[in-house]
């Protein structure tokens, strides 16, 4: 009897949490199917019509002559550009930390760990001040280069090679006369596919969602990534800002649609890579 009561109570908590996690997302998906007025008057989880999505889409894409597409393109350029630089720098670095020996290796590894655990937001303002000093503010590089610095990626690659590629194998290759470059490209890289995927996933998701640095560094709407663009849409939405929003067609359904579009790339990645994501969170620290 006691067990049944306990189980019921536990199930109830799980159910409340389920509603807490799912309801906002569900509401968001349904919001663009309704008109702004329906959101207030109709039942929250009702479905409006597909036609309304079309209307919201038209309003949204005509906002400042389709600036939405510029924002999405900027986000893609920043996130993919940074991803490429991250892979080019972090894979050889992680490999070298794991399988070669050089002066300062341990120091570099410790610094990498500390910077990786430290919240990245702590460095944003100092990075801004530095970029300002060297007059890089407002350029695409002022986003791509800081995004490319990704110690977590280096650590993931390091752990991967340290645990999956035996040193003896490399010694054998060296004795056989292979150059270091050949060892890296012919032995290490072909083995690295899983960790490349992992680093790419985390780097892309993190940079796509990043708001703080672009918000500080980019002065013009033309250069905004979608996250900063959403902030501008928000200040143009009458329900949140009656003064600035008056006369514009951006209302709650349009804003909801913009949110869905902004998270779509990450959401798709999430849906298909729960396993990847979790292994990465666990790889942040070794188990043994």
């Amino acid at each position: 009897m006691k067990r049944v009561v306990g189980l019921t109570l536990v199930s109830l908590v799980l159910l409340v949490l389920l509603v807490f996690f799912v309801l906002p997302a569900l509401w968001l998906l349904l919001a663009p199917t309704k008109m702004a007025a329906d959101l207030a008057s109709e039942s929250p989880l009702s479905f409006g019509s597909f036609a309304n999505i079309g209307v919201a889409w038209q309003h949204l894409t005509s906002f400042q002559d389709g600036v939405l597409f510029v924002w999405l393109r900027n986000s893609a350029v920043y996130a993919v550009g940074a991803l490429i630089v991250t892979l080019i720098t972090s894979i050889p670095a992680g490999y070298a930390l794991a399988l070669t020996k050089f002066r300062g290796r341990k120091l570099l590894l410790t610094v990498t760990l500390i910077v990786m655990i430290m919240p990245s937001a702590a460095l944003v303002l100092p990075v801004f001040l530095e970029l300002n000093l060297v007059h890089l503010i407002g350029t695409a590089w002022s986003i791509i280069l800081p995004f490319s610095f990704y110690p977590f990626g280096v650590y993931l690659v390091y752990i991967y090679f340290a645990t999956s590629l035996p040193r003896e194998l490399l010694s054998a290759a060296r004795l056989d006369g292979a150059t270091e470059w050949q060892i890296f490209t012919r032995i290490a890289l072909p083995l690295a596919t899983p960790v490349v995927g992992l680093v790419a996933f985390f780097s892309f998701v993190g940079n796509w969602n990043n708001f703080f640095l672009p918000y500080l560094v980019l002065p013009n709407s033309d250069g905004f990534p979608i996250q900063v663009g959403l902030n501008q849409l928000l200040s143009s939405t009458p329900s949140f800002n009656p003064v600035a929003g008056a006369g514009l067609n951006i209302t709650s359904p349009e804003l909801a649609l913009a949110i869905i579009i902004a998270v779509l790339p990450v959401l798709v990645l999430f849906l298909f890579s729960q396993r990847t994501l979790v292994s990465g969170m666990l790889a942040g620290a070794t188990k043994e």
Binding site: V10, V13, L17, F20, F21, P24, A25, L28, L39, T89, P92, A93, A96, K101, F102, K106, L113, I114, V115, M118, A121, A122, L123, L125, P126, V127, L129, E130, P146, F149, P151, A162, R167, L169, L170, A173, R174, L175, A178, E180, F184, R186, L191, N209, L216, Q227, L230, F240, L255, I259, V263, V266, F270, L271, Q274, L277, M281, L282, A285, K287
Partner: protein, 308 residues
């Protein structure tokens, strides 16, 4: 795997050639690209912030004056106070609920239910950042919220009432929990899975019920992961910026523009053009972040710096 076999099967011909440093010069070369980025966007900004924080506009050394000045700013302590209250809510929520839920999902739910719930709980993680704040603006606006009956029953009938200063810490904790908890539940679940079955079996033989099992076996055995989560959540929590900044935009200035320390630093740099003061506040935050990270790296034994 064919690439692996080739070098192994060929017999070694010059066994006497051994290099003192494995990999020779390749190590430093391979890390060089990353080291450049580390210097440019990790070390140099920190040093520059230190320089700014200890000097004035004309570059004269001013000792601790910048720090004294920002600490005496009437907005300094309230901002840290706000963050502190937020951290208490957020850490309590995340520790009690992620660990509790993970244990329940691991030990008391049938496997398919457990898998489905873990997946659904973690979906909001995809909406981290700006999107999560905007979604919660809708959830908290009584005129459109699907739970406006709940808000009303708490006596909150307008958006302004919901965003009363006393509520903000809890609101930010809820948003953080919404996007972050699912991932941690999965991590805790994974850690629970690593507890050897024999240990649990032995406890059951001794007559331990689910409560005793959780308190005396499961929680102690995943303690490392709980500490890991708490330190990460604490360090990230101190940096809060996006959430209060967006809420400030959405509330027509009813929310203070310097609610969190990072916002205060932002305001020093952008509203007052006072980079020295901004750097001083940033350094305070940086030191907190560094302390948390240093503690975790050197004390927790979770990270391997060298293969033994």
């Amino acid at each position: 795997m064919t690439a692996l076999d080739t070098p192994v099967v060929v017999p070694a011909r010059r066994a006497t050639v051994r290099r003192a440093r494995e990999g020779g010069l390749s190590g430093p070369l391979f890390v060089s690209g990353y080291v450049v980025l580390l210097l440019a966007f990790g070390v140099l900004p920190t040093l520059y912030a230190v320089y700014l924080a200890f000097t004035n506009v004309r570059g004269q050394f001013t000792g601790l004056n910048q720090f004294l000045r920002v600490i005496q700013d009437y907005r300094f302590w309230p901002a840290f106070g706000n963050i502190l209250v937020y951290l208490v809510f957020w850490l309590l929520l995340i520790v009690v609920l992620t660990v509790g839920v993970a244990i329940v999902l691991r030990s008391r739910m049938p496997a398919p239910v457990s898998a489905a719930l873990r997946f659904l709980y973690y979906i909001p993680g995809a909406l981290a950042g700006v999107a999560s704040v905007l979604v919660w603006l809708f959830m908290l606006d009584p005129s459109v919220s699907p739970v406006n009956w709940l808000l009303n029953s708490l006596g909150l009938t307008t958006f302004a009432e919901v965003l009363a200063p006393g509520h903000l810490s809890l609101i930010f904790a809820l948003i953080a929990f919404w996007t972050g908890a699912g991932g941690w539940i999965v991590v805790m679940y994974g850690a629970l899975n690593n507890i050897p079955q024999e240990v649990l079996e032995a406890a059951r033989m001794d007559g331990a019920g689910p409560w005793r099992m959780a308190l005396h076996i499961q929680i102690p055995m995943i303690r490392k992961w709980i500490v890991y989560m708490v330190i990460l959540a604490f360090a990230a929590g101190t940096q809060l910026f996006v959430e209060p900044q967006l809420l400030q935009t959405a509330s027509l200035g009813r929310v203070s523009p310097t609610w969190s320390p990072n916002q205060l630093a932002y305001s020093y740099a952008f509203q007052h053009g006072d980079f020295n003061g901004a750097a001083a506040i940033s350094l305070v935050l940086l030191v907190i972040g560094l302390a948390g990270a240093g503690l975790l790296v050197t004390r927790s034994g979770l990270f391997k710096v060298d293969e033994s």
